[in-house]
């Protein structure tokens, strides 16, 4: 975090940068600090360090059911979004067909579309085909909404690919199918992992789309949301802290893989 280091030459800019960082991260710091506070979310400053709330969290089966549901949905979404996203990225990179520019914009649309629109449309679709709302609808919702993320990431990976390698493979007698499995896909490995991590993280804390498509089984963010309506307990702070740590870890792995793919080909 370079901007947070005070610079002698531009004190005003440094102060401003620190203010922005405080604005972003102070709430998270407070949230984490109170997860260790014996007296709960009330009182300032937090005192009496305790792991009590974490203990309580680990004994709370409803939370862990929600975590399991979220993991299932996220894993499914990764598989669905990567498969369809790879096909879309291949089409964008290689095929030329009428309406390609339009297709490109349409595929990327869910990235900028508010989740509430995506969620509502998917709900209407589910009602239309008479599908019961459950984890399956949530999985389809996440999976389709995140195709655009997969497409963007994998398209970038494909653009960086050395096409001469694929030509060399065809030249050596490999069919296009063999070339795809033996050359194209292994070279896209880092992009696939990076896209998968990002999609996984996004699916894990998705609320807007989920809100419309959820049945009886809660995902983790929905479970937390539900509990908040009955009042804040430090247990929520504890689970939120865990989510924060895991998210930061996944995003940093994603970021490192991404910069590595970019560097490898340049």
């Amino acid at each position: 975090m370079q901007a947070a280091t005070p610079s002698r030459r531009q004190p005003a800019l440094s102060a401003y940068a620190m203010f922005v960082f405080a604005f972003i991260y102070l709430p998270v710091v407070v949230l984490i600090a109170y997860s260790f506070n014996r007296d709960g979310v009330g009182g300032f400053p937090p005192r009496h360090f305790t792991l009590h709330w974490y203990g309580q969290l680990f004994g709370d089966s409803a939370i862990w059911d929600a975590v399991l549901n979220s993991l299932l949905v996220a894993a499914g979404s990764v598989a669905l979004a990567l498969t369809l996203g790879l096909l879309a990225a291949l089409a964008l990179d290689r095929a030329s067909f009428p309406g390609k520019a339009l297709f490109r914009r349409l595929v990327l649309l869910p990235l900028i579309l508010p989740g509430i629109i995506t969620g509502l449309s998917l709900l209407m679709f589910a009602v239309f085909v008479n599908a019961p709302l459950n984890l399956l609808t949530v999985f389809f919702g996440h999976g389709t909404a995140l195709i655009s993320v997969a497409t963007t990431e994998l398209f970038a990976g494909l653009q960086k690919l050395d096409r001469a390698q694929e030509e060399a493979s065809l030249d050596l007698g490999a069919t296009p199918w063999q070339t795809f499995w033996r050359i194209t896909l292994p070279n896209l490995k880092l992009s696939l992992i990076a896209a998968g991590l990002l999609i996984f993280t996004l699916s894990m804390d998705e609320i807007a789309v989920t809100f419309f498509l959820i049945g009886r089984d809660n995902t983790l963010p929905m479970e937390i949301w539900g509990r908040l309506r009955q009042g804040m307990t430090p247990e929520i702070n504890a689970i939120s802290t865990l989510i924060f740590v895991v998210s930061v870890a996944l995003i940093s792995i994603w970021y490192r893989l991404r910069t590595r793919t970019l560097r490898d080909v340049s």
């Binding site: 030509e167 493979s169 050596l172 007698g173 490999a174 033996r182």
Partner: protein, 359 residues
């Protein structure tokens, strides 16, 4: 060998039968015409070089033969089989790519065995043939290494082994030496040449380097702006360039824009007998066919003229002189290494060495 045949004719090569025929092939990318109606034959066992500047269409022609591009019109045949309608993976040709295009996620051994694996060759046979191919290019000790760990020259050898392991009838080489430094390049040139002789495989080699083309090739096909300028042996194309462009591109030359009248060609201060018909004509006079006559006497049959030495460049075994033999007439002369020259001298050449070329 029918010698100075240029611009599109079929060429009969005495040695071996015809392996590959390019028949009236043209290629357009959108509105741009990259190849204009090219026809050429490649004989079995031949080392043929496609020589030309960038944009001459040489790489496009190679890619048409490899199957990465389809011709806009025309046909390509190989040993009685039509080639241009087959996908690249069904063509009995293999390519050495300009930047090698080795597979980074495979070891050297896996790279070389790849072509055999994808064709379903038994694992044992694939391994032994890959090892044999690696031994051929002296890379068997690096079988387990990843391509990224190898130097440019080593990667080049692996790319060669990978292309040869399938035992192609025709090997296509797309500027394979251009990424190597000068010394390594010379060494690889000689290794390529001896490898081609040993294996008897037909090589189609693309380069923009005329020295490389002359050193390696049985024949050179000189391309210019998507058309065939001249196709002939290096000696033929150097000694009897068909056009002014060929004369200038291959080696150095003096182009003399002469006027022919009554059996004599006149160009500035130079005048020599010629069998050409009356009218304007261009002649190519190589720098080394002009001699510096010490003692002011010319040998019999030679044409003599006076020239002032303007510049002398020492080149080890020889000297390159720039001489002025009239207002605005500068000639380049190459003579064996001599002491520093200055002032006016007599220079001579034999009329037969002034080669008539087309514009």
């Amino acid at each position: 060998m029918s010698a100075s045949v240029a611009n599109g004719s079929h060429v009969n090569v005495a040695a071996g039968g015809t392996l590959l025929e390019v028949r009236s092939v043209a290629k357009k990318f959108g509105a741009a015409t990259v190849l204009k109606n090219i026809s050429l034959d490649i004989a079995a066992g031949e080392f043929l070089t496609l020589l030309g500047e960038s944009g001459s269409g040489k790489t496009t022609l190679l890619r048409l033969i490899a199957g990465f591009e389809a011709p806009t019109s025309g046909e390509i045949w190989m040993s009685g089989q039509r080639l241009d309608t087959l996908p690249p993976y069904r063509r009995p040709v293999n390519t050495v790519f300009q930047h090698y295009a080795l597979f980074p996620h495979m070891s050297v051994q896996e790279n070389v065995a790849y072509g055999l694996h994808v064709k379903g060759t038994a694992a044992g046979e694939a391994t032994s043939r890959a090892e044999e191919a690696l031994r051929m290019v002296k890379m068997h000790e690096f079988a387990g290494a990843r391509p990224a760990k190898l130097s440019g020259g080593q990667q080049q050898r692996v790319a060669l082994a990978r292309a040869l392991v399938n035992r192609p009838q025709l090997l296509l080489l797309d500027e394979p030496l251009s990424a190597l430094d000068a010394n390594l390049r010379k060494q690889m040139q000689s290794e390529l040449k001896s490898l081609q002789r040993e294996l008897g495989i037909t090589f189609l080699f693309v380069t923009h380097d005329q020295e490389e083309a002359m050193a390696l090739s049985d024949r050179i096909a000189l391309l210019r702006g998507g058309a065939l300028e001249q196709i002939a042996s290096p000696r033929e194309i150097y000694g009897h360039p068909a056009t002014a462009y060929a004369a200038q591109f291959i080696g150095q030359t003096n182009l003399l824009h002469a006027d022919v009248r009554g059996g004599w060609a006149v160009c500035g201060a130079l005048r020599w007998p010629t069998g050409e018909a009356d009218g304007p004509a261009i002649f190519s006079l190589r720098p080394e066919v002009i001699a510096c006559a010490r003692g002011d006497e010319a040998s019999a049959g030679a044409v003599a003229f006076r020239g002032v030495v303007r510049q002398q460049l020492f080149g080890g075994a020889n000297e390159t002189l720039e001489i002025a033999c009239g207002p605005e007439q500068i000639l380049r002369v190459r003579i064996p290494a001599a002491e520093p020259l200055s002032g006016e001298h007599t220079f001579t050449f034999f009329p037969a060495d002034a080669i008539r070329v087309r514009a």
